[in-house]
Amino acid sequence: MKFNRKVYILLILIAAALTAPLVLDSYSILVLSEIFVTALFALSLNLVLGYGGMLQFHQAVFLGVSAYSYSLFVLHSGSFIIGIVLGPAVAVIFGTVMGVFLVRLSGIYFGMLTIALGQLVWAVVFKWYSFTGGGNGIPSVPLPGFLSTSTERYEATLIIFLISAFALYKIVNSPFGLLLKATGQNNTRAESISVNTKVVRLTGIVLSSFFAGISGISYVIYSQSVSPDILYWKNSAEILVACLVGGIYTFAGPIVGSAVIILITTIASQYMEYIAFVLGIILLVSVLFMPDGIVGFIKKRIGDGIAANKRYQ
């Protein structure tokens, strides 16, 4: 019965989100859009970070190359559909090529190679004025006609988020997902039960880059522009923070983390300009007091509560 209640709550939430534009003002709708884009981006990272146990510090690259591929393609040729397919495809190519080198490393060396590769891509995008627009980026990216109003763009980011999140949820709970978790938790042991850990990790990276690529399309729909900043290491770091603040050992963690960070910074920005300061304090507090993230913290509280109740009965 509990499972059913969970599904009902989820369905109500989805219905509320779909009908939100009827009641909310356009600014709130934009903020919600941002949450869905960011949450999908965070989920894509968490597939390798939380489940695969890999310190991937360059997630923004996949979002970025996808967003740029779409933007550059539609600017030059005009076909939206091919652009939308091209984005994630290019992200997957980047993910595969980088992944082949990355899976040979582990721990901090893995992390540092992602930083080097990520910054390399950023530097090229940043400096290749003739092709990417350099530091200015592309200030205005054309979108298909059916995404002309803010409500349509909102619904698009929401639906992309829902479908992708559902797919990721299925993957995490699939046989492959189990082996990815196993490999992330104990690589040596996974090898000794015949798992080809390098291939499993590479597949994880490729899937992660694919969904990050989708979030890149979602990002363009939301912002209608691209700039090299979206590939910069700080953007990767911020999404990592969102995952960790929410909790990387739960599926909902990255979603909650993204939502909390965006909501708090949005609200804070109405009263002060020091958003990073607020974000820093949130992070500091969560590192010191909620090392398992918000969702992990709540789950543990509920778990302790149930355990305590059982003891009294």
Partner: protein
């Protein structure tokens, strides 16, 4: 290519490398001894530059005032490091690396905005002291005297760090802690104190780096962001915690950048990243590893 140009670019590259080393040395010391990846190192570098700006405002424009301010800025940043270590990091020793890293990243965010609260959002510059303005005529080309400051600070760091690590008991203990912490404690030595010294020395070096860079850069709250990544890669290319590896890697980075400007000016900023990626793929444990 004209040989004198090559020589002068080489000299510029080495000087830049020495500057990177000032920052990398602190970072690698912290990494080697505390096993913490300190994202806040870039923030401490930025703070060094801001304190430099303020102290020069007080001390005046002279060459002596410049060096005095640099020393003061480094000491102030060292003091801030002391507070960070005692109040925050101390509680995270032995915890997950990701958590420690994240704590230092939260400081990046906090310091970035704190600086804007205190100094505002303007760009600041520090005037070049007289002694360092102008150029030398070497190898038939002109090299800014300012590079001399980088070169000397780097050499000074090398010498002082060597003295500390190899000639003082504290430094020897720090090296011992880096390889085997529990045995150090079993000999009656408080390893936590060693951690504090290493972190503060790292902070002083970051502050010094900010101070000496201040005449050459725009002093802003973001100035640490790009350099910290480069310095990270220097440390990793040199081999985790290997100070001499960092020195070599820093010089390689410096030279690659200066020749990058010469050969492929548009993508000069990509050179260090490409080198780091290649080294990590071929020799993940650093250039000095077997």
């Amino acid at each position: 290519m004209d040989l004198s140009i090559v020589a002068s670019y080489l000299l510029i590259g080495i000087s830049r490398g020495m500057f990177y080393f000032v920052l990398a040395a602190g970072l690698t010391l912290i990494l080697g001894v505390l096993k913490i990846i300190n994202f806040a190192h870039g923030s401490l570098y930025m703070l060094g530059a801001f304190f430099m700006y303020t102290f020069i405002g007080i001390a005046g424009q002279g060459t002596g005032a410049f060096f005095l301010s640099a020393v003061m800025a480094a000491i102030t940043v060292g003091f801030i490091s002391f507070i960070i270590e005692q109040m925050l990091l101390k509680h995270l020793y032995g915890k997950e690396h990701l958590m420690q890293m994240l704590l230092t990243y939260s400081l990046v965010l906090i310091f970035g905005d704190s600086v804007e609260m205190i100094w505002g959002t303007d760009y600041y510059t520090v005037a070049m002291p007289k002694l360092l303005s102008g150029s030398y005529h070497i190898f038939g080309t002109y090299i800014s005297k300012f590079y001399l400051l980088f070169l000397i600070s780097g050499l000074l760091t090398v010498v002082l760090l060597w003295l500390y690590m190899y000639k003082t008991k504290l430094g020897k203990i720090a090296r011992a802690v880096a390889t085997n912490r529990s045995m150090v404690e079993a000999l009656g030595i408080n390893a936590d104190a060693t951690f504090m010294y290493a972190f503060v020395i790292g902070g002083v070096l970051a502050g010094l780096g900010g101070a000496i860079a201040s005449p050459a850069v725009n002093i802003t709250s973001q100035m640490g962001d790009s350099i910290i990544i480069k310095v990270f890669l220097v440390v990793i290319v040199g081999g985790l915690g290997n100070i001499w590896g960092s020195l070599i890697a820093a010089i390689i980075f410096g030279i690659s950048e200066s020749f990058g400007v010469l050969i492929f000016p548009r993508f000069e900023i990509a050179f260090p990243f490409a080198i780091a990626a290649i080294v990590l793929i071929l020799k993940p444990r650093g250039i000095l590893s077997k």
